[in-house]
């Protein structure tokens, strides 16, 4: 049992190190040697857990995707209105992206893989489907105008959120990601929300943003 716990710790340490190195250097430039050095494990230990760089990258992406889907569940907890859940979710994802190297590594790999491989499509399609579901619920709750093309807007929101992550990475502005997301809601809400509810929902969006206090980046 002790041996198993230690093996799991090593596996987790390798994954964290790999995510960190992938985040900094991207998939192509990263070597297994970089990851071994960062994790301070032996080559044998790494190969015991992961067969190749591709397998490690897949594990980082999977871990990040599972983690974000858990945040989505948390944000959509029963009793939360769908539009509130979307706003909360977007800030929670931005915050985690700033604070958690595993998430940053997973996102960078997803952005790179999307342009390399076909199965890079899945995370984007998952998020578009989930966002459309949120929007449909928000229409039922009368927080979003029924005339809205929810599938089209879901595509646009996921595209925007993706692009904001690209900009944050390229321009090295990740610590400002929550401000960027707040800006997104300020621009989007007037096009989505019935006029009589707009002021309240704009205020709710600002309050939600204020609830996410970001740790200084490590």
């Amino acid at each position: 049992m002790v041996r198993q716990a230690r093996a799991e710790q090593t596996r987790a340490a390798i994954l964290r190190a790999a995510a960190d190195v992938f985040d900094q250097f991207g998939y192509q430039t990263t070597s297994l040697g970089d990851i071994i050095a960062k994790a301070a494990v032996t080559k044998g230990a790494l190969y015991f857990h992961f067969g190749s760089k591709a397998e490690l990258a897949q594990a980082v992406v999977d871990m990040q995707h599972v983690s974000w889907m858990k945040i989505a569940e948390w944000a959509a907890a029963p009793g939360t209105r769908a539009l509130n859940a979307m706003i909360k979710l977007s800030h929670a994802l931005a915050t985690q992206m700033i604070n958690d190297p595993v998430i940053r590594g997973g996102i960078r790999l997803t952005l790179e893989r999307g342009s390399l491989e076909h199965d890079g499509r899945t995370p984007y399609l998952d998020w578009i489907a989930m966002t459309a579901e949120f929007l449909n619920r928000a229409v039922e709750e009368r927080d979003v105008e029924p005339t809205i093309d929810t599938a089209g807007v879901a595509h646009f929101i996921v595209g925007s959120f993706t692009g904001l992550q690209v900009l944050a990475q390229v321009l090295e502005e990740r610590p400002k990601l929550n401000d960027t997301v707040a800006q997104m809601w300020r621009v989007l809400l007037p096009g989505l929300v019935p006029a009589p509810k707009l002021q309240d929902l704009l205020e709710l969006a600002e309050e939600t943003r204020a609830n996410f206090i970001v740790q200084p980046a490590s």
Copy 2:
């Protein structure tokens, strides 16, 4: 003179072929051999014009950037209101992205380079500055609310447009890019435009979109 014209033709053919191969396979996976085969030139001819794969990629990116900046000038021709110019420009860029392999190659390289190198920042910063200028003019022309944070919204628009290109590439939906851009304006305009002008500007955006008829992708 004849020899020079022929050399320029060869150079242009190599650039087109390179852009096409970069667009399909990305920077890392592409070899100079792929480009030589696609351009149907000799290795000597390629090295006469370009010293390395990096130099070729830089030439494709430069050509694409110059081409897009020309489109921006055209869209912003004197007498065009700034908000109209932005809408026109976004559809012109989307259309060219669908029809012109050099543009597609340049964009793919810009997206990849952004995550690889520091000077990947320049095109994004150029577009954010230009968009902010358009928005400031649109405020003067009273097509955009004076309360708008034009720098913040410019950042958001460039981020969104970037993300929509990522999605179009990953999900292989490039032929629909003008529809996606039209969706963007439908969502954004209510948050930007004074209420009495909104209906007219929404209609203008739909008319602008209708003016861009996209050729079937080659």
